[in-house]
Amino acid sequence: MSARLITPGTEAARADLSGHSRAAEDKRTTAADAVRRLVTDGAVIGVGGTNHARTPMALLIEVLRQGRTGLTMTRPLSCFEAEVMLATGAADRVMTSWVGIGHGWGLAPVLRRLVERGEAAFEEWSHLGIGLRYKAGAMGVPFLPTVSMLGSDIHRRLELATIACPYTGQVLNAVPSLNPDVALVHVQRADASGNAQIDGYQLMDADLVLASRRVILTAEEIVPTDQLRLDPARTLVPAFAVDAVVHQPMGAYPHECYGHYEADLDEFAAYMQAVRADGLDGARAYAAGLASHADHDAYTGSVDPGRLAALRRTGEELMPR
């Protein structure tokens, strides 16, 4: 398993920026190509969205398909995608504040088993701790001060440093910056060069994108730049931070994408039934099923169209009006 990630790499991450193009050029490609070029074994991957919201499922499944190993997944709240990645060995570490299945399915069974056996690492941070790691990374500073985690065993276990305010003497936790090797982020719309808009809750994705050394976006829609210009305050991701843009409708499926579709609870059930029946092997079989399709379109194409239509309908019905 990869080493602990406490030491900020602010300077290395800045130096690394010189290696990627900041041109406002066409960066569209396929998920397969983007993952092949930008996700390497053992990398720290920042997973966009939280829990079952805007999870970059198309990209994660492509990572499975390409057989990456030894990844660290950073995500403030993780859902069953973390289990799938850990069960297959694609990842062996999560850096997170929470892993659960949700929707009444209780504890994360595969994660439990792997962590309790010492076969996977659960690096536990507070929710704000993860957020501030990204924010420090995005700001280009090696740490940010906070009261989060003070007094807790999270602080003690991570061996975080404290720092005294030079003006007041107040002692705060120093949260080290994090610059993931690559961010995988799903958005509602982007232009070809990677300017992207997120509808609804933005979660931590803007900071994650700016912090990361490389960024792959999937987008429900690719739109002309002129469409973004109509509402530029909604653009939360600037093209100069983005390395690859993938047009991927249903790119968060079976998780939700605000304004487009709700999460597919039948898939939660299918996953959990596989795990309850066959434990780790069940999770692996489920993962193999996900990765068995040629690409994400083939996967979503294999799902009952009526089910997908219903998810889209309820997703739209919940929009403010």
């Binding site: 919201a53 309790e116 009261v147």
Partner: protein, 271 residues
């Protein structure tokens, strides 16, 4: 909330709990009564959000409810209780959607009056464990982790812990301090750098508990209707203090149960 306390044991003797209220409903409703109007509440999924929604429909219409997904001013839609603080059903009615880091920074600034958290284990000082059962280096049970609870417990002005009253939850010492309470009591919380807040209340199916001044040890403030002090002690794995004016909570009212069941879409079960 003290409105719902009955002062004397004599009066309490005549009280029985609402016959149709389940333990989780009793807790949710007791928690809802703690919420004053005009305050700001950092809620979580499940009981906290339901308690908030009940309060908004009863004594606290100007309560502002927010969720860790960055939703501010949410309104629970009856029958569509979200399964996560980070999903579209949790955003219904939001007046503002901000970032998930930003909303916790507002907590750190001090804007939030109440924070609601749950507990797998809680000790006499209100320290909460939702991380690990057993040895942290080799856990017997790996629990989900804090989610936002560590931050809520560190930053909100007053933390309310809502959990079932069982000996395996109310333990002598938590295996892991996920969300800091009063730590080892006295000034230890303040000494750790947590200059504000701390647990104010613990709401269970058997009692309402608070923390004694100075020592910050957990104390029975009031019993749920129909519960006895012996039951509470028996369900607690450490020595509890008892408030010198022990109170008794009003039983769940029909209207409270009705509001709750309407919210969760169990109207058919309503009393």
């Amino acid at each position: 909330m003290i409105d719902s306390l009955i002062g004397s044991a004599e009066q309490a003797l005549v009280l029985a709990q609402h016959p149709q209220a389940r333990p989780d409903e009793i807790m949710t409703i007791a928690a809802s009564r703690l919420l004053e109007d005009g305050k700001v509440l950092f809620a979580g999924i499940g009981q906290p959000l339901l308690a908030a929604a009940i309060a908004k429909r009863r004594q606290a219409p100007q309560l502002t409810v927010l969720l860790e997904g960055g939703m501010i001013g949410v309104e629970l839609k009856p029958g569509e209780v979200p399964a996560s603080t980070n999903e579209v059903r949790a955003a219904v009615g939001a007046q503002m959607l901000t970032g998930a880091t930003d909303i916790f920074l507002m907590a750190q600034r001090g804007f939030f009056d109440y924070g609601f958290i749950g507990a797998a284990q809680v000790d006499r000082y209100g320290n909460v464990n939702t991380s690990i059962v057993g040895d942290p280096a080799k856990p017997t049970v790996r629990l989900p982790g804090p989610g936002g609870a560590n931050d809520i417990a560190s930053m909100c002005n007053q933390v309310v812990i809502v959990t079932q009253h069982e000996p395996r939850r109310f333990v002598e010492q938590v295996d892991f301090v996920t969300s800091p309470g009063h730590l080892t009591g006295g000034t230890s919380r303040h000494d750790s750098g947590l200059l504000h807040g701390g647990p104010g209340w613990v709401v269970t199916d058997l009692a309402l508990l608070d923390f004694a001044p100075h020592s910050h040890r957990m104390r029975v403030r009031a019993l749920q209707a129909g519960a006895t002090l012996d039951q509470v002690h028996a369900a607690t794995g450490f020595e509890l203090l008892v408030h010198e004016e022990l109170g008794y909570l009003q039983p769940v009212a029909d209207v409270e149960l009705e509001v709750l069941r309407h919210l969760v879409g169990r109207a058919e079960e309503s009393p």
